[in-house]
Amino acid sequence: MDHLDQLEAQSIYILREAYKKFGKLGMLWSIGKDSTVLLWLAKKAFFGHSPFPFIHVDTTHKIPEMIEYRDKIAKEFDLDLIVHINEEALKAGMGPHEGRLNCCKALKTDGLQQVVTKYEFEGLILGIRRDEEGSRSKERVFSERNKDSEWDYTNQPPELWDQFKTDFPKGNHIRVHPILHWNEIDIWAYIERENIPLVDLYFARDGKRYRSLGCAPCTGKIDSNAITIAEIIEELKHTTQSERAGRAQDQEDAYAMQKLRKDGYM
């Protein structure tokens, strides 16, 4: 087994544990490269079937191509897709002008919380990775959230030998992170090997490309001429910039992501 085979096998094992353990399970699909890899892994784990719904928390500020791509893939893969918008917050005028962290909290964190409450999810599968950012590097594969989706990161349970946290009080839910152990280059190498369909925004146009996708007002492009996956991988091998450098909300505060994630952000 090569390196990608090992990553894939571990992720599939985690997905199958989640499916076995949680009656109400859903997978967050943000349309980006990571959660699209996750979607593909789910297809593999369940031999072409997708035995749980996929959830997109739509802030209505997404880059338009992302939405086009979402609807196309959902149809092609025959996904049971839940698109949720925090209408209340939008009606009340929430947007990036209210402060980026406030906007993230309302449109993404609270939006997600509404979905969890509405569908009574016990398990939520997310495509976060340890190498993205500090608080994610401390995550467990099965990570408990209380009824308000809060994360008690100072008191995480032991997690050893793939015996994951599957016992918890009713009302809480578990965030399942099947690709926590992958890095950015792994993701690209796997997309290439498996020929996974991806939104064009990641590939350079006029000397610029997106390295990480989010909402249009808070996501910047990087200078790049990479138009193939091989070129992207080559570029990443030599970059000194962090992956989420283009995500404006991260830069708001030294502990911005920790604070967002404590409240239930992805």
Partner: protein
Amino acid sequence: MSIHREKLKIVVVGHVDHGKSTVIGRLLYDTKSVAEGKIERVKKVCKEKGKPFEYAYLLDAFEEEQKQGITIDTTQLQFFTKKRDYVIIDAPGHKEFLKNMISGAANAEAALLIIDAKEGVQEQSKRHGYILSLLGIQKIYVIVNKMDLIDYSEERFTTIKQEMNEFLNSLHVYPLKYIPISAFYGENLTSKSDYMPWYKEEPILEAIDLIEKDKGLEDKPLRFPIQDVYKFDHRRIIAGRIESGTIHVGDEILISPSNKKTKVKSIEYYQEKDKTDFAVAGKSVGITVEDEFFNKRGAFISHCENRPIVDHVFRANLFWMGKNVLVKDKKYKLKISTQEVECEILVINKVIDATNLIISEDASEVRTNDVADVTIKTKEDISFDEFKHNQNTGRFVLVEGYDVCGGGIISKLEKGIEAVSKFVGEEVDFKVQAFDEYYFVLDENTVKRSVRYKEVFSLGDAVPTVGESYEYPPSIDFIDLEQSRVAEIRKSILNKVIRLKDYIFEAQQIFDSNGFYVNVTTKDDYINWQKDYERVINGDLLEVDYANKWLDFEKYRKISYRSTLNKTLDYMI
């Protein structure tokens, strides 16, 4: 840098403040494995606090960690050398966060144990060393850090080396190297230090490239624990991960504990390109088999000639991380591979203080952060291997309430003792505890039940109808309603072991499997007794009322006096 390259997972452990996070931060920094953005952020945080650059902040991402200057939770980061990729796992050194240290270390293949040159070997240096040995991590480098504080003294380095080596060797851990460094000044990290010319070997970065990865899981006997069974379409797919060995289409396989045999019909796939007729250890697969009998999660698939152990009593070394103490006679959940089963601690053989190796032989509990040698009994038979033969199928966790509270490795199948003796008939077995003794122990002022060593009685064997604290009539029937079994004893010889449904009541005296006389003399009694038992099962009658009505302890039993207990025996209260 990770395509088709080898990857090694290394955990960094050691006492609090001995510089684990700094060593890692520095390694990441010097190998340019951290993005500039991250370094900029740390610079900004340090500047705000008026501190020099803290390499540890590259790992200690939590605000609480940076403010208090300690690592709270384990972190995994990646970096690479020319040779291969590394996942480097930072583990907290503070005793309070031992469970996080174990979470980190349990995932590692090799370890760096950091010791502060000035402080020398401390409590957690030893405890962590012990836990590494328990986790089966044999590839260890001891890193003596902060050499700058002792003027790069070879003498002091040698003293620490001797002290730690003596301790680790007594645990059968033999570190591959001892490396003197100063993480803060970068001495002996990526290149040889000019301050320590007496150290002739490699700096850390070169040394870790020399660690050889364990190989050969695929050459071990096949172990394929069933994770789930899918019936999404016409296929009935058995899904799971191969923990060791290799499976081929056409292989004859055995399913434990049901002992059924069948053949592998196919290995399933999502896309045509993944079609294969074999799969090796580590792979998550789905197979179909020729005979579609009922298979469920937890069962083990192996080849017929090399099967796992199937039993329910074993000896284990465990570390306890629970908030409550671990005690005997309490139900815990045991999770081993994909099996989950209720269990109890039958015997606490030893509790070991991991920092000084002092052993308590007569401990009645295992406290938080203690290590113990215990005998565990599971409610049902489980499939497993001894840890030394197969790491993946020889380790387990214990769950109390909602939390994983302990982890352990199986040292051996316990053949010598067992709480339960057995009558073995032609078709069925009957578990029996009727030959236990009851003593009033004068020294302890309590009544104790002494468990008889496991004995197996076959048809025609003599049965000990007379013991120190009981005297049964020579011809009686043992009946256990829970097991639905009957054993006929005639003239103190085991005559028959049958299913309850095949039994005809003929006014023979009846005892239950504990050896308590059952107040049944007529056919009507016999029927009413079973009806009451059903009511207990259905929750319509209290067990205590049932016992007081039907069971008679004193009729053929008594409690003998004993002054003390012989410690080589095992006792349950």
